[in-house]
Amino acid sequence: MPQTPKYAAVIALCGLLLALAPPAEAADLQSAILKVQRDAQTALVNVQPVTETFNRGERRKRSSVGSGFLIDLDGHIVTNYHVAGRAKRVMVTLFNKERVEAELIGEDPSTDLAVIRIPKELVSEYRMKPLSFGDSDRLEVGEFVMALGSPLALARTMTFGVVSNKDRYLPEGMSLPTGERTGDFNTWIQTDAAINPGNSGGPLINLAGQVIGVNTRGAMFADNIGFAVPAATAKTVAGALVSDGEVRRSWAGVSFQSLQDWEALFGMEEARGVLVASVEPGAPSQAAGLQAGDILLSYGGTDVTARFDEELPRLYQMIADTPIGDEVPLRVLRRDGEVDLTLTTVETGKLSGQEFEASDWGFTVREITDQMVFQYELESGDGVLVEGVRTGGPAARGNLRRGQVVVQVADEAVTDLESFEARYEAVRGEGGNVLLHVLEAARQRYVLVQPGDSGEGSP
């Protein structure tokens, strides 16, 4: 091949330069990286949760591998919600390859974070050194960073790169495999330090050895585009999970758009405030009188503004941080001038409910939380949501479908997961056909489940 010599020359030249003149900075960088690695290594864990998934109408156990890092001497470990959230059991492998069981302390799907804990005796016994959070607000693009974790289950892996973007906005409305909406409250640190499946929950560390982010996402069809939840968010959320086991947030049911350079379209001289894009029917924002097209100028007496999308997560965070039930004065700009409104927030509550498998009937259901009523555009929170229907099972043969809401079982109302479970236990033993009354959008149906008439093959 004619091109080979040219490449060989280039490679040789590179080698030569490196050999002849190692810049002093490179040596410094090398020692800094080594120091970070040595300091951080005892805090890094490989997380192996066993979660229950309710998929296709069946409850299954699923094992996965993710990463995590120790944040205090009490044994608390930060990881991702999509790693350890809803785990039935979590094993972790420590830096010294010892495996221990961890306890799930708290989870927060909205930021995709979770905290687990290992016995604190082990922390002292093995002399594990917790990592501390750095200041992600003061990052600079181009700063060197290292991602630590277990990509493809390859434990104790370090990759290296730079902060590619410190304020990446990813569009709203992402959802987790378990159905919860996530990512509304933070922008993301983008890095080219390689992040692969299994890196989830691991720390992104700067040269000072501080955690500046929690590695969480990757981009598909791309090389070296990974995203980390900033330390500013992770620190607050982890703190709440450690102390309270949960993060409580206020909810208003409003979505915003950044104003860009659209001020003239809304009758303003200069862009200020944020554009109200959508108001959820039945939500506190609607009760307050907010309307799509309003320009929100101040919230609780604080001026707000968002000219660019990157500023939106902060606004959602501000609403979330409002004490639940507070009466918040709003000032909005409309065509006919400025108007004062009062918003009374409610608690966001659980994004998604618990699940239950009605195995005899071949489907699984989910508790309907207040947020799900909005998410799925349900009439009310009564009943249970059909989450999955087992292929070929009795419910599938009766045409029960995912997304329908069961409101009656054998002619008795089921209002929530508990009453569904109770009704299931009471009726299943009879073994006969069971009539379900289900709602689906504006439709009502009867579904006849015939457990005896097995169309299924032997398991």
């Binding site: 299954r60 699923r62 569009p171 979505s255 999308d309």
Partner: protein, 478 residues
């Protein structure tokens, strides 16, 4: 919202899922598959009429379709509905009218078809063969397919006429899961030439189709449906729509002969199957089971309610025992002249029976019958909001506006982010309630030539603003 769709994935590493290891049933050999699948696929040729340069022109295009039921329902990609390219740009006044669908099978069979329904979110359409019997070779679907990276799938398309309509077998593999749950897949080896082609598993069941779908997992809840390239779309993702398409066909979407009146009740229903009749303690022998009553419809006015069981029509038993019998009932109702009073025998679970009289109305306009307007400057076509739109987007009957039917991606409206399926409710300060006010609003805006034009849009319950920045100098160049 970003214009570019970045598909993001969460990064837990799934280690093992023993449930997937269980395999049941026999794997079909490739020759067996080829033989079984070949007669189910057809080239769908459709003609479009449009006005260009003042004269009516006709163009013919084709796509792939697959027969999904013995009575000749055919699944096709929805893109055919809104072709943006053709000989010359669309001129004012008309959108291509889909005048006819012809199906050509590899074995030489040829059939005519009509539209049942389209879905702009899923980008799928359903046709019904109008000149066949009830014994079409068809595919069967498999639900609950848990896709995994590395799964091999089979697909099939037909070569065009010049090459003798030979079925072409394509082995494909899932190389990434693009959504959660795993219902949208990236496929290695699937180009847009496979658009509309079914995806079979190793046992001869169809688990999805090659489609164009919104890439962002949250797109369904967002105002802007992001369309991207050819991907695999799981049957689970569109099974609900497919079931509804038949329901909807009963209420609105069935395309009757042009300008012919058809009787309309305003209900959705399913067959009163024997086991259900027996369990409910009502008489067996046929009937329908009302699942939905459209508010304000003849059925609603007559007091028919969801869960009602209707067993007779004008004194005759309704001969519907399974969903495949439903056409008999639908045809009866449609044959009734608007204004005619029909009597239904209704049975209650208590055993009580009564009669309910309904005055048939005329069938509301379907999506295809809806009037359309095109604006060439903004390169956008809109249509009236039909009952089908309201039902599909779950909007109240009083919803005002026009629905975007087609938009050129790089046109003024397209660049602003305006997409198909969205409802335009205001343009700058001008309310848009119907086609006339839409035209008036754009005429005003074109006269005023502002730097920016604000579109207030609705999609389901979400609303959002989009801003177009027209290059008015283009108008002078024309």
């Amino acid at each position: 919202m970003n214009r570019s769709a970045v598909a993001l994935l969460l990064l837990p590493l799934l280690v093992a899922c023993p449930a997937h290891a269980k395999k049941r049933g026999k794997t079909q050999t490739t020759p067996d598959f080829y033989a079984a699948a070949s007669p189910t696929i057809a080239t769908v040729t459709f003609s479009q009429e449009f006005v260009a340069g003042g004269s009516t022109q006709q163009t013919t295009s084709f796509t792939d379709g697959v027969v999904i039921s013995p009575d000749g329902l055919v699944l096709i990609p929805g893109t055919v509905r809104f072709p943006q390219s053709g000989p010359g740009r669309l001129q004012s006044g008309t959108l291509p009218e889909l005048t006819s669908f012809r199906l050509d099978f590899a074995d030489g069979r040829q059939h005519e078809a009509e539209v049942v329904a389209f879905d702009t979110d899923l980008n799928l359409g359903l046709l019904r063969i109008t000149d066949g019997d009830d014994d079409f070779p068809h595919v069967t679907f498999r639900d609950g397919y848990a896709a995994q990276v590395g799964d091999g799938l089979r697909s099939m398309t037909l070569y065009t006429e010049e090459y003798g309509r030979t079925p072409v077998y394509s082995p494909l593999a899932i190389n990434a899961l693009l959504s959660t749950p795993q219902e949208v897949w990236s496929l290695s080896g699937a180009g847009t030439n496979l658009l509309g082609a079914p995806l079979w598993d190793g046992k001869g069941k169809v688990v999805g189709v090659v489609a164009q779908v919104p890439m962002s997992p949250g797109a369904a809840r967002q105002v802007r449906p992001q369309l991207s390239g050819a991907v695999g779309l799981s049957y689970d993702r569109f099974a609900g729509w497919l079931a509804e398409a038949q329901d909807l066909a009963l209420t609105t979407a069935e395309a009757p002969e042009e300008e012919e009146e058809a009787g309309w009740l305003g209900i959705e229903f399913q067959a009163l199957e024997r086991p259900l009749a027996k369990h409910l303690g009502v008489s067996e022998g046929g009937g329908i089971f009302v699942t939905r009553v459209i508010s304000g419809s003849p059925a609603a006015k007559a007091g028919i309610e969801p869960l009602d069981i209707l067993v007779s029509l004008d004194g005759e038993r309704i001969p519907v025992n399974q969903d495949s019998d439903l056409n008999k009932f639908i045809e009866r109702v449609r044959a009734g002249k608007p204004g005619t009073v029909v009597r239904f025998g209704r049975e209650a679970r208590s055993g009580a029976t009564d009669e309910v009289s309904v005055t048939l109305a005329n069938s509301p306009k379907t999506e295809l019958q809806a009037e359309r307007r095109t604006n060439d400057d903004f390169e956008i076509t809109v249509r009236e909001i039909t009952l089908g739109t309201l039902l599909a987007q779950r909007l109240p009957p009083e919803t005002a506006g026009v629905i975007v039917d087609g938009v050129t991606g790089a046109g003024w409206a397209g660049l602003a982010g305006v997409g198909r399926g969205m409802i335009i409710q205001r343009i700058n300060d001008y309310d848009v309630t119907d086609l006339d006010s839409f035209e008036a609003a754009l005429a005003k805006v074109t006269e005023e030539q502002p730097e920016k034009v604000l579109f207030f849009m609705r999609f389901r319950r979400d609303t959002r603003f989009f801003v177009a920045e027209p290059d008015w100098t283009e108008l002078d160049e024309q």
